[in-house]
Symmetry: C2
Subunit: 342 residues, 2 copies
DNA sequence: CGAAAGGCTGAAAACCTTTACAGATCTTGA
DNA sequence: TCAAGATCTGTAAAGGTTTTCAGCCTTTCG
């Protein structure tokens, strides 16, 4: 049915070994033969069967990508970044959406592990220990989560927070609310930690408003508590929450930004589309995805672990090497949802 | 390194043939042996190498999914639907984002074709003829595009338009603008065709406002022309365009819905988050993805084409069979962006 | 008790590719 | 012209699985 290497060999009048060499190590075969083989291959539309190749080389040429929820507009950007870089490196990518289910994450990692060279795992919800175990089973890089020993790509939350708070302070705000995301979320913990650190060095009061789901509804549900906190500005866990706040503020007749400055996090495309457009801390999405793939490919190119790696010393892909951690810059996008006090 | 069928065979004291049978055709092996083998397999954490299996069975257990632009919020829903159904059927899915590039579509289809059993191709931008050719090379189902001879999943645009226009007419609107999407888009052509058909039977004037990109900016750029058309309501090609309109109307001081009713298409999650929330024709996303996978799997289960299929009769997967076309229902989501005239 | 029938199991081929090794051809220098 | 070396090419094994075929053992019936 499909054209195989044998067909090419037969038509070109050479052995299959020569065909594979002409295609993958052209320099070792005589130019005349090489060109003939390549011509035949092209005319027959031959492409090596990657599964068969993977069987022998141990490399599938495929990558896996796990995201918690594709419906969260933060993730498509990352996925696109991963795709773009993977395609450049001639790799295809398996995508799995875990529906925010930590248990599904482990299952899917294992399910995919056999078919890929490595995985990019995005904002995983599962526990550190479990993740570490999985990282021992299959090469893996983390995006938007940091665990010592596993290569990771994150963004400068602390710096982002510094810019955000700096912006509000410059506008005269002295009481700021923070609407926190899920307690179990690493990103939320990091943002909160950064925020507290920043606040400590500035002359502002911070009011923390309970944990909400990182979605529109979470913002809606937190809005009234924010209003009750008598603050002049609010930083939301992410843009979706911020937009939920906006929605509820509008319904309550609180003008934004005149009556309340709202600041988001992520800079999802949506942030620029709402009215007023959202001031937000932009986190790289595309670039984070790309960086994830870069790290992963780099990891895979490292000398392979000794067959039967010792238990007592981490396998090379555990990420003990340099350049294994990457922190991308963040920047503040000032739009219409923040303004000066009075 | 990884545990293979040989390991299981050795430990269980049987041949590899028995192992594979115990796992994939349990009824043919003696219960005692079967149980022992399965136990050993489980304890060793054995999972068949799918690449190797695919080599011999011709089935990879993988599906491919092509989308034009994951950043368009319409598509993540479809992707999630595909994922969900694929996972139920124990298939993994390759995702490729074509970045709205028709040329990339063909390349990616061919690139993926070797590694999957079939493809779900979503809202493809390429020409019918090209798509037909590709469908001859690899089992394929179309989602949100209909081409005779290729299995497809679409939604009832005509019915959706009937509901949309009916809603506006009931509210007293007599002049309606339509902001069209890209001329090359099949969805746009269908929507326009449906709209014209509906308008013909109702007592309303239709003003068509030029073709715009199917994004937020497209709506922004069309808004002024809509205002100049002295209509009381506008139907946008999709929600993103509608939201762009909303944005520009707000900037121009035109109150929505009091001064202008705005109606979208798709019902992306965002539609409910903007202010005012968008009245829109809801197209199934998740269900469309699921239906696409259903159709594809059904296609694959059909008797395989005779080895060396005749040129003069379509291969089975060309979709000459019944049940090969599926049209899902649409419904109008009435929210805050439409109201009665005066 | 013997033979046929049926149920289970194992050996080996097949899927498509890459690669180690050995063989063949060509070039070069004497 | 011959030998040695370099260059190129072919054979065969390997990778993990499924499947065909044949053979073994057990059962059943005469």
């Amino acid at each position: 049915m499909a054209v195989t290497i044998k067909d090419v060999a037969r038509v070109a009048g050479v052995s299959v070994a020569t065909v594979t060499r002409a295609l993958s190590t052209p320099e070792v075969v005589r130019p005349a033969t090489r060109d003939r083989v390549r011509e035949v291959a092209a005319s027959l539309g031959y492409h090596p069967n990657r599964a068969a190749r993977g069987l022998i080389t141990g490399r599938t040429g495929n990558l896996g990508l796990l995201v918690p929820d594709l419906a969260n507009p933060f993730f498509p950007g990352i996925v696109k970044g991963v795709q773009a870089r993977a395609r450049e490196a001639d790799h295809a990518v398996f995508l799995a959406d875990t529906d925010e289910d930590p248990a599904a994450e482990a299952t899917l990692v294992r399910r995919l592990a056999k078919q890929v060279d490595g995985l990019v795992v995005c904002s995983p919800r599962m526990a550190d220990a479990e993740l570490r175990r999985l990282a021992g089973e299959v090469p893996m890089v983390l995006v938007y989560r940091r665990i010592p020993g596993i290569p990771s790509v994150t963004a400068g939350f602390l710096d982002g927070m510094r810019q955000a708070v700096g912006h509000l302070v410059a506008l005269g705000h002295r009481r700021i609310a923070y609407v926190a995301g899920p307690k179990t979320s690493w990103a939320n913990r990091e943002r909160l930690r950064s925020l507290r650190a920043v606040v400590r060095t500035a002359d502002v009061d911070l009011v923390e408003v309970g944990n909400v789901m990182p979605r529109f509804e979470g913002g809606v549900s937190a809005a009234d508590r924010v209003l009750a906190a008598s603050v002049t500005s609010v930083i939301a866990y992410n843009d979706l929450v911020a937009i939920g706040l906006l929605h509820r503020f509008a319904a309550r007749g609180v003008p934004v930004p005149a009556g309340m400055s709202v600041l988001g996090f992520d800079d999802i495309p949506l942030a620029a589309m709402v009215h007023p457009a959202l001031t937000t801390v932009a986190l790289p999405q595309n670039r984070a995805g790309q960086a994830g793939v870069d790290l992963l490919l780099q990891l895979l190119d490292q000398p392979a672990p000794h067959t039967g790696p010792r238990r007592d010393q981490p396998a090379p892909h555990m990420g003990t090497h340099a350049g294994t951690r990457r922190e991308l810059p963040t920047h503040l996008m000032v739009r219409g949802s923040t303004t000066s006090v009075h």
